[in-house]
């Protein structure tokens, strides 16, 4: 795989994506008006490059883009797919009840495609505890920047209250919630602004400027977060992945819940691995859409819950690296899942019961006691019936290329 495409995808796959192939037959739309004369096809904007392959597409003179006008429909109240992580109750985060009502999309028939102005009703998450979590949608912007957010540096923001543990049976009964905390946009389109976006002529051969552009292999694959296309999704009432702040917090809360439940009897552990995969899926979405996710994690690295944050870090890094590999013998989600669980063995090594600080409770990092966490983690992975590849990765995660790792002094296979 050429390296320039690695990591550029939008990855928001959730559990339901693995299961079905959907086929939809729709009712015919109203008859299209006759095509406008003139070759307007190639004035469509700078996003599309046309090639010469196949199909015998209509010529520019035969069809014109202005013939069909699409008006974004009113946003639906609920949209988006099922997410395991949505099952996790967002503690201490509640949407303000006095938030201004969301206005329906104003449609202007003459402005068919790109609404010029999108404004967001402010959303304030009112914390119930001491650490504020505030998400403020930014003002109008074609490429909507990430919402600002604050999470306590000690990582206690919105964590599970002590003494109240979410158990799997509770999670199973919770209904899925709307995945996106961002409300449908309040749209007011303006003709003038639409006219300000002059379309460019598409060429099937690259211009000198394009040819001189730096190779994508050298460019960060996070340079172009597709904020614009998600804005269009919102205008059509389609749910988009949550902003990274909310997703990180959700992943953290979900992982805490997993750690709290992973020591339960085996009969209650059948949902652990799906939850792990869901967390990995959410993290994958963050990787693809937020260039600053690692900075974010570094900035807010907690002094508490070190095991949780270490696991999240490791999962993000491992999954990002895994995307560079074409011939993986396991899925990216399995790699992420193994990373999330690789140090879970510390949970049953601590003497003070459940402790998400994990390895900090064992002072000597070279002691045999410390090394036992590999076996414990592997044991936990087997208990939750994780895939074999995951169990193997966890069992070997302290291996080293020079064969000096533990517990078995494994050496890498010959290349």
């Amino acid at each position: 795989m050429p390296c320039w495409i690695v990591g550029c995808r939008l990855q928001t796959m959730r559990l339901s994506d693995h299961t079905n192939i959907k086929k939809t037959v729709v009712a015919p739309p109203p008859a299209r008006p006759p095509a406008a004369p003139g070759a307007q096809l190639l004035r469509a904007g700078n996003a599309i490059r046309y090639g010469g392959i196949a199909g015998g597409p209509a010529t520019a003179a035969q069809k014109a883009p202005g013939a069909v006008k699409i008006t974004p429909p009113a946003p639906s109240a609920k949209s988006g797919g099922f997410s395991m992580s949505a099952l996790i109750k967002k503690k201490n985060i509640t949407q303000a009840r006095d938030a201004p009502p969301v206005k329906p999309i104003e449609q202007e028939p003459a402005v068919a495609e790109m609404p010029a102005k999108v404004t967001y009703a402010p959303v304030i998450y009112t914390p119930q505890k001491t650490v504020p979590v505030t998400v403020t949608p930014p003002p109008v912007s074609p490429n909507r920047p990430k919402p600002t957010a604050e999470i306590g540096r000690d990582g206690t923001g919105a964590q599970t209250p002590p003494g109240k543990t979410l158990r799997l049976p509770d999670l199973m009964t919770k209904k899925s919630v709307s995945p996106s905390p961002v409300p449908p946009p309040n749209i007011s389109a303006k003709k003038e602004a639409v006219a300000e976006a002059p379309p460019r002529i598409m060429e099937s051969t690259p211009s000198p400027t394009q040819a001189d552009a730096p190779a994508a292999a050298n460019a960060s694959h996070y340079d172009k977060a597709p904020a614009g296309i998600y804005e269009i999704c919102r205008q059509f009432g389609i749910a988009v992945p949550e902003d990274s702040t909310a997703l990180i917090e959700q992943a953290r809360a979900c992982l805490v819940t997993v750690f709290e439940n992973i020591l339960l009897p085996a009969s209650e552990q059948y949902m652990i691995w799906p939850m792990i995969k869901s967390i990995a899926s959410d993290l994958d979405g963050i990787i693809a859409t937020d260039a600053t996710v690692l900075n974010f994690l570094h900035r807010y690295r907690a002094k508490k819950e070190k095991l949780v944050w270490h696991s999240l870090y490791t999962a993000i890094l491992a999954m990002d690296l895994a995307k560079n590999e074409k011939n993986l013998s396991c899925s990216v989600y399995e790699i992420g899942g193994a990373a999330l669980l690789h140090d879970a063995g510390f949970l049953i090594q601590t003497t003070n019961g459940f402790d998400t600080n994990g390895f900090d409770n064992i002072a000597d990092k070279k002691s045999p006691e410390f090394h036992k966490h590999v076996g414990k983690s592997t044991e936990l992975a087997r208990r939750i019936e994780a895939p074999d590849a995951v169990v193997t990765m966890i069992a070997q995660h302290q291996g080293r290329l020079d064969g000096q790792g533990y517990p078995k002094n494994l050496s890498p296979p010959p290349v």
Binding site: M1, W4, I5, V6, C8, R9, L10, M13, R14, D17, H18, I21, K22, K23, T24, V26, P28, R32, L41, A44, G45, N46, A47, I48, Y50, G51, G52, I53, A54, G55, P57, A58, K63, P65, V68, I70, E113, M114, P199, T205, S207, Q210, A211, D212, P214, A215, A216, H221, K224, P226, G228, I229, C233, I238, A239, P241, A288, K326, V332, Y333
Partner: protein, 130 residues
């Protein structure tokens, strides 16, 4: 008979792992009286293409997919005599250089860059093939 053929809905295959973008393409395509099939992974796409139950008039293909990449699917399509001429529109979030675009355009019909997506451009593309 000819009129019946004209009214027959075209079949579009969307191979995209982003649910939001799946739904966006679906909505836009359905406005043109087309039948949409959505698959969320390269493995599913390969499976459905090898079944050959349907002949697709247009394929939207994301490059970065779980398990099997869009490149592999493109090779599968082009290797099959029945699908080698199927128009394929690459729907990618990758940043492509001019040379890369030119090279890719020898194998596909169009490239849509997610980062520069506009409704106007996409409608023009659909007008061309649907």
């Amino acid at each position: 008979m000819e009129g019946k053929n004209l009214m027959e809905a075209k079949k579009v295959l969307i191979v995209e792992d982003d649910k939001s973008l799946q739904q966006l393409i679906k909505k836009l395509v359905e406005l043109r009286n087309a039948t949409v099939t959505i698959v969320g992974s390269g493995k599913d796409a390969n499976h459905i293409l090898k079944e050959q139950k349907n002949r697709y008039d247009l394929v939207f293909l994301d490059l970065i997919l779980p398990e099997v990449t869009g490149w592999d699917i493109l090779e599968t399509l082009r290797a099959n005599p029945k699908t080698k001429d199927t128009p394929v529109v690459i729907f990618t979030g990758a940043i492509l250089s001019g040379k890369e675009q030119a090279k890719m355009l020898t194998k596909v019909s169009a490239i849509v860059e997610k980062s520069k997506f506009t409704l106007e451009a996409f409608n023009a593309l659909l007008d061309r093939w649907l």
